[in-house]
Symmetry: C2
Subunit: 319 residues, 2 copies
């Protein structure tokens, strides 16, 4: 059977596609025989089961062309990230809201009740929450990205309640360490302060050293996304939004782990240069969430931040 992944050219989207194929995942007993990536660029996964459709994901014709009779699921990973959606309001609304709605409408007209995996974010939360944040606590986003994700969550839940789709909403922690270059996420520094020093480069930390962050490795996030996609609907209950597990780590604790894994010289490559715009967005996100229910449902967290750094070095080396 067939799966559509939006944002298949992105880091998480491509890893998701790779893992779905490598692990021979099944959905409701159907094995996955082909995957279509919908993104501005082609999916980098080199596998004959992967087809790339490139273009604007808010384009109804592109979406219609991606869905087939054999489609069983849509994984909606594409997004304009936090700092970019803050800088360009219209672009964020179009990609993060209009495209989500267009995709949901296309799924609604599909003869099968499609599984719909939606990547939301801890950016839906506001500041000043007692932590760990309880499940009932609601979005009070302090960024347009967070607002657009919170709106997407509501749409996926309502479409699910009405039986138009079988939705699963995952609120992703900040994902570290990503390989490659920094992106326009406000949290991009969190990977850079590990990745760049490991490669012998300087990195700038724009937030306070004591700021607690809610983090997950790419490996844990992708495993959790696949778990969310493949879980039977019955185990999710009738509210489809889940806070994915993460670990609470301050910037200082991140740098301690870097030092333990790569030495003092690596740590000394990180400079602190406060950036009020980034600090305001990132400090509005909670540093810890209650995760008893997701853990009981089989979702997983990293053991600790040393393991996250170690796994990055193991997979990507030091550059």
């Amino acid at each position: 059977m067939h799966i559509v992944v939006t944002g298949g050219a992105g880091f998480i989207g491509a890893r998701l596609i790779q893992r779905l194929l490598d692990d021979h995942q099944t959905i409701d007993g159907h094995s996955i025989t082909r995957i279509t990536s919908l993104d501005l660029a082609p999916c980098p996964v080199d596998d004959e089961r992967v087809e790339s459709l490139t273009g604007d994901i808010a384009d109804m014709a592109l979406i219609a062309g991606a869905l087939g009779e054999d489609t069983v699921a849509v994984c909606h990973m594409a997004a304009v990230v936090s700092s970019q959606a803050e800088a360009d309001f219209e672009l964020g609304m179009r990609v993060n809201l209009d495209a989500t709605r267009a995709l949901l409408e296309a799924c609604r007209t599909h003869p099968r009740t499609l599984r719909f995996l939606f990547a939301s974010s801890l950016a839906v939360f506001g500041p000043g929450l007692s932590q760990p944040v309880a499940e009932a606590v609601g979005p009070q986003p302090r960024s347009s990205y967070g607002a657009q994700k919170a709106i997407g969550e509501l749409l996926v839940n309502d479409y699910s309640r009405r039986g138009f789709i079988d939705g699963r909403v995952c609120r992703l922690p900040t994902i570290v360490v990503r390989p490659g270059k920094p992106n326009k996420a406000a949290s991009s520094f969190a990977g850079a302060i590990i990745r760049e020093p490991l490669a012998g480069l300087e990195a700038i930390c724009p937030v306070d050293a004591n700021l607690p962050l809610w983090l997950s490795s790419p490996r844990a996030v992708v495993a959790n996304l696949i778990h969310a996609l493949t879980l039977p609907a019955g185990s999710l209950g009738d509210w489809r939004t889940l806070n994915l597990p993460g670990i609470t780590v301050t910037v200082t604790e991140m740098l301690d782990a870097l030092e333990r894994q790569a030495g003092t010289a690596a740590r000394q490559r990180v400079r602190f240069e406060p950036d009020a715009v980034i600090e305001k967005i990132v400090a509005s996100w909670p540093g810890g969430l209650e995760i008893q229910r997701p853990l009981a449902l089989g979702f997983q967290a990293d053991n600790d931040f040393d393991a996250v750094v170690h796994a990055y070095i193991e997979e990507y080396g030091r550059q």
Copy 2:
């Protein structure tokens, strides 16, 4: 100066317009010299300061024609109500979501930072909450109406945070007793079981007698809406959503008050005929919310349900 009221032909919209004019309310020191009602039908308020524009409130041209150089505020009261938005998904999305967005976009391009009063609803909440529901508890709506209102709340907050508007979101309790005929709100019965027996007519209660409801009289709601509109922005903080005060009353307690105010014969005109669709929607709404902050901000609740029934009889008589 000028105010736009969407839904000005509706019960609450028309009362809001009447009260704004009668009470000589000012906004930021500006007295109100004219009000434009935007609705499918003309506003019933007979006052030369009121102009009615009729048409589809999602129509950008209609909205553009309503806003003027002297506009200082928009009160967005128009909505497709709960049972109707449940029965006609597209209509609900168009009026409750698309029109809200069109209105916000029009306000964003206005040279002045307009006050934007948005009527939301306790229908944004889901079932199973410990009550009274705390302010931090988030929307988990079990109706498309509730989902669309929760999305509107997020949009108004994000537009306010960005400085596009000066928004104020009021989550309205169930409003009883409305005069006139039942409407397509799932909570319409709550007024009918008082209003109809007072007029000598039978009424049907589709929900359990022990169901607690979160209620407000039309008078208290309109006073609270005007208070929300006229409060200085500084007193609201940076999250603009408020749970308006109400009182917690079960159906039995409502009928007890009816009996005290109008006799046993009136009470006996109410029959219980369970309706699973209505019960499911109404029972998903909380019966009580925490209201310390709104009360401290000067919002008001009715004294008790006897006073609500008494005020209705005083204003509208028994038919």
